[in-house]
Symmetry: C2
């Protein structure tokens, strides 16, 4: 049978090569359904091999369902073992902008590769046999304790390690809390508008309906919560995304009072609180009301999103349902982070980052004032992004498109809103992943794009 | 105010220490709601410090919501900033049995720490800046390609890297497929009975109702699928869990025909197919019908569960919905696995493991025949577990309990069934994680437990 002979590879034992040749011929359609295969004796003679090898190959393919063999009628290609399409080449990842002023990424150049490699090696060396098995629900006790200590010391949180759940990031943690709320009968979750659209989408994916609540210079309009059919709210108290507002003290109090009154839950998205430049960080809302707040954080902004490591601290009643839904972080990475937190390496890295980001922010703000003097800049006290108001009548989508043509990525403020607001056009600029030396060029391109859009 | 002075720590700047002392006093209930704090001038005098430090501390706590400050009425502990319980010490992990003959774990001693450390280091060194950002949906293209190549070569699968989704393990992958089925309107999923209870539970967590379908020596009773109100089925064709049956060729064909007829989907759980001792591994069901089968696998049995790395290969229509639900594996670990697969290190490791497991299985079967001669042993051709029939009238739960008292973990076959079957008492013995030298002692304890249970 020529189709088999011509497809016989040269690697491995002959029976396996015969099986592969026949399998491939069936898949490619060269051997069609119902085709009678040569008797083993004949094919062995054709191939100049033992009959045993052919029998083995046929048996294998019968076992796999490609062939069927009936006493007295020989071996045929089974009906249903049809041809399948050939593999298409793997797709290429999305193009990376030459200059990235869009929010979401920290400075990937600053990832402490050597320190992380050391922590990983230490973790691998120190891992017990049990540590190599299935990670315990909620994460490794050592990391839970390290995170609890860190959040208590640095974020003014009230954390029992037993209430910490290790996650694969903030979105994972928030989605797990949202899923637990859905399981408990919640159907709607208040979210800030504007807010982080990808998180909103992830929440919607749990079956929860996001209910937008406005934001002003004092953060989420907590008074509006009472009028909504919700008993849970997602809030960014330390640094509202994207406006940069800090939730004002009276709003913090109002949020907690509301949660108590409706017997509800606040989800605190503490996504970039580590970076506050002009005053001390504000402690978490969770520290104020640990029984009413689930606190979600991660190392995506402080180390790298690639690590997929985060946490959520929950009131005790929510811990088990959240653990059942949270993603599972690799255990060796959990141990590496515990080592990095406990050794002080994490705190040292944060101090370095904070200085670098503050300098970059200052440079960016200065460039923006110089080249876009009419455009107000806000939300600069903390985090890795700021917002820029555009002149009335300038379409942000057009600015984004023109800048993209020059290799610069920026974000339209409207993409954070649940509905566009043409009366307040603006951009969100993330400076986490823009090299310092690229700041002047990026702002020059942006200013030109704004001028072009205004003229167009 | 004595409560503040006596709680003043000695680390850090004074204003932070004052803030911490006040915060802790409020949390512990020593400062109750509404309590008026001393004027900043007085407290500064008491503490012998500058008034500035006290003002800073009060401001911080007002910002955090612990205190409220009104012109003309001083600073008070805010209503609602109530005491919270003290942290309880972290819980200890569940005790590990001295001798582990329960199924689920591979040989954790065999984890190739040095080779994995090398692959991790190589991955960290080779990772691009972009690789340190958020991992692309579905996983890193390099790992998807490596997995596709591996499954094509070794598991007779038909895999386009574009249809591979990297997961955090088989349960994650199966749950993602189940979730995608739920989103597409499926409400029920056929599962093998007996089967792996934790996977059943995870499926139920997606909102899917598992519908049990029986199993015999030829694997799942695929003829029974047609009578069920289901259009999707989870199956372990290579090595049924826990019976060890290989899905017979006519059943493979019947399963595919059924899936085509109902326009449905088969989920192939390929959890331990790498280990087959007495003949070549049977190719995947997916290879036979890539348009009708989602193939889930992981490295939990071949490397270590702690890595939380797996994959699911889906027909194109299911890939996007599954990716939206799959867990996110750490990207550096993804690159390390790609390196390990592509370098041949993985294949070498598998060969070593296969030899070791086969020898251990032989030793275990020999000991069982010697010490429990009346008890039939089945499912030994592959995988890391086997089943043992118990004499009629012996309660497996009692055997499990008596063995546990001697430090030996074994599994009751009933715990894999959706309903206990007292007419067919049996045990599932996993030999993955039992050291070779412990085999005689483990079987001796087991035999004694069976005798005691039979006598009791």
């Amino acid at each position: 049978m020529q189709v088999i002979q011509s497809n016989l590879g040269s690697d491995g034992p002959l029976h396996a090569r015969i099986a592969t040749a026949v399998r491939e011929s069936i898949r490619s359609g060269r051997l069609t359904e119902g085709t009678l295969l040569p008797p083993t004796r004949d094919l062995a003679a054709d191939l100049g091999c033992s009959r045993w090898a052919v029998t083995q190959a046929y048996d294998q393919l019968v076992a796999e369902g490609y062939l069927e063999s009936k006493v007295g009628s020989g071996t045929r290609v089974r009906h249903g073992a049809a041809a399948t399409g050939a593999a298409t080449p793997g797709a290429v990842r999305a193009a990376v902008p030459r200059l990235d002023l869009s929010p979401g990424l920290p400075d990937l150049r600053a990832f402490p590769r050597a320190a992380w490699a050391r922590a990983s090696r230490a973790a691998l060396g120190a891992a017990s046999l049990q540590d190599l098995g299935y990670p315990p629900a909620g994460g490794h006790p050592r990391l839970r304790a390290a995170v609890a200590g860190y959040l208590t010391r640095v974020r003014g949180a009230v954390v029992d390690p037993e209430q910490v759940t290790i996650t694969t990031g903030i979105r994972d943690g928030v989605a797990a809390v949202a899923g637990a709320l859905v399981a408990a009968g919640h159907r709607r979750l208040a979210v800030e508008d504007p807010g982080w659209a990808r998180l909103r989408a992830r929440i919607a994916g749990t079956g929860m309906v996001p209910v937008p609540v406005g934001v002003d210079a004092s953060g989420m309009l907590t008074d509006a919560l009472a009028g909504q059919p919700v008993r849970a709210a997602l809030v960014t108290p330390a640094h509202q995304f994207p406006t940069g507002a800090v939730l004002a003290p009276h709003r913090r109090a109002a949020a907690v009072d509301w949660a108590v009154a409706v017997d509800g839950l606040l989800i605190e998205d503490d996504y970039d609180a580590e970076f506050r430049y002009d005053r001390r960080p504000v402690g978490t809302l969770q520290g104020l009301a640990p029984d009413r707040v689930a606190l979600a954080g991660s190392v995506s902004k402080t180390l790298a999103p690639a690590l997929r490591l985060g946490w959520v601290v929950t009131p005790p009643a929510w811990t088990e349902p959240v653990r059942a839904l949270a993603g599972e972080a690799a255990l060796l990475d959990q141990l590496a982070l515990a080592d990095f937190l406990d050794s002080g390496g994490y705190a040292r890295h944060l101090r370095l980052l904070r200085r670098g980001y503050r300098d970059r922010r200052d440079a960016l703000v200065a460039e923006l004032e110089r080249r876009l003097p009419g455009c107000a800049v806000s939300g600069i006290a903390a985090g890795l992004h700021l917002t820029v108001d555009l002149p009335a009548g300038v379409a942000p989508a057009r600015v984004v498109a023109i800048a993209a043509q020059q290799g610069l990525a920026v974000m339209d403020l409207d993409s954070c809103r649940t509905a566009p607001d043409p009366t307040r056009p603006g951009l969100v600029l993330g400076y986490g992943n823009l090299p310092d030396r690229a700041v002047p060029e990026a702002v020059a391109i942006l200013a030109a794009a704004v001028r072009t859009a205004a003229a167009g």
